[in-house]
Point group: C2
Chain length 234, copies 2
């Protein structure tokens, strides 16, 4: 069985867990704390980031963008017309554009800061935290993320008003990437859902998919999720 | 003819210009100053970044990662065994991993700072520069980039010692992405080539390809390149 080196609150890892769920693909989840810079993990991914998918005994596929393309090419065809990276060139451009938006832009502006400051730092030693601006959450980064998330939420609402799903008429990688990043922010109570009801309705649809269940069961020791995190009718 | 909205010193745009050169593909280059946030450009790419490839009258392909996949799928096959994103699943993983390293990690840690502070800010109004930390280059960002580039250079040397090209035995997107980002830093005199001779030898090989000529001819008004920028025997 493949192994996925991941962290339960790493948004990129969550994206790949959703993809695997939609593909009906099983993998053994192995928690990786990327801030520990474990030498054996750096062999799998010299960039040192989660997730990494390992097939067989040693074939490593590092990084959510690379894993998503790899899974589409090696397993995506089984979904036939429900393929998560659709066939047409223009559809593929739009799905990849929106995936990139969330995996790079949203991550840089929102989810990276919230996860690092509010989650990962809880597990770091003082020595480890030194490489991340010091122990204890940086409130400036958290405030910036909370401000930035608003226009992303409106952008989701804008896309969801134009189309059935974020990148077109079918569920795609775009929805899974966006929902993965938002789900972490939602656990932490940092999504102002009431500001865009169309975005909220879209998220409720993604969240009710069976592939999402494993994410909704994740719990952070000593930090409960917001009340509606796992509520499918929120 | 397709249009490429680009900036001569945007490393992502340079990557795509190299790809088009290798593909023998012609496109009209249109300079875009992304810091002007031109409304018509935001329609082509809501993220507001260069490059954007426009096919026909209105089909926009935004962002170097998306363009590279699109060009491979629509034009890459003409290269046959010289295809820049090779056929085998493991080869594709390695090429995409290294491309992502340079387009995301190297950009975040090095080229983004050097280009923004040393190039783009020369063209910004005081009002425009306010959104980028103020007019005048931020020396702290430049110093960090100059420090970070060293381990990236050693990583290139490490890869070039193991293989013929950065991601395998054949030239691939990985070499073009890495060389595109380095070429901007090289113009600015910020690559300590003497620290890794294997990296330097690899760069000289990429630089001597015909696809590179257009990059070597680029000039920044009022800022000449380093002496060896366009020297193929440096």
């Amino acid at each position: 069985m493949p192994h996925l080196f991941h962290h339960a609150f790493c948004p990129h890892s969550r994206f790949i867990r959703l993809v695997m769920g939609e593909l009906g693909m099983e993998a053994e989840l192995v928690e990786e704390r990327q801030w520990e810079h474990r030498p054996d993990f750096l062999v799998l991914n010299p960039a040192g980031t989660t997730p990494v998918l390992v097939e067989g005994s040693s074939f490593a596929v590092p990084g959510s963008a690379v894993i998503a393309e790899y899974l589409d090419e090696t397993r995506g065809l089984v979904l036939s017309e429900r393929r998560l990276l659709p066939e047409g060139p223009a559809d593929r451009v739009e799905v990849r554009r929106v995936v990139h938006w969330f995996n790079v832009k949203f991550f840089d502006e929102v989810s990276h800061h919230l996860v690092q400051e509010k989650v990962y730092k809880r597990f770091m030693s003082a020595e480890q935290a030194r490489g991340y601006g010091g122990a204890g959450p940086e409130m400036k980064a958290i405030r910036a993320a909370r401000k930035n998330i608003r226009y992303h939420l409106h952008y989701i609402g804008f896309l969801a008003r134009k189309r059935n799903w974020l990148a077109g008429e079918q569920l795609s990688y775009a929805d899974l990437a966006a929902a993965a990043h938002l789900s972490v922010c939602d656990y932490l109570g940092d999504v102002p859902w009431e500001e865009d009801l169309q975005a909220k309705e879209w998220y409720a649809r993604v969240k009710s998919r069976p592939s999402f269940r494993t994410l909704l069961a994740d719990r952070l020791p000593g930090m409960a999720p917001t009340e509606l995190y796992a509520d499918l009718d929120f």
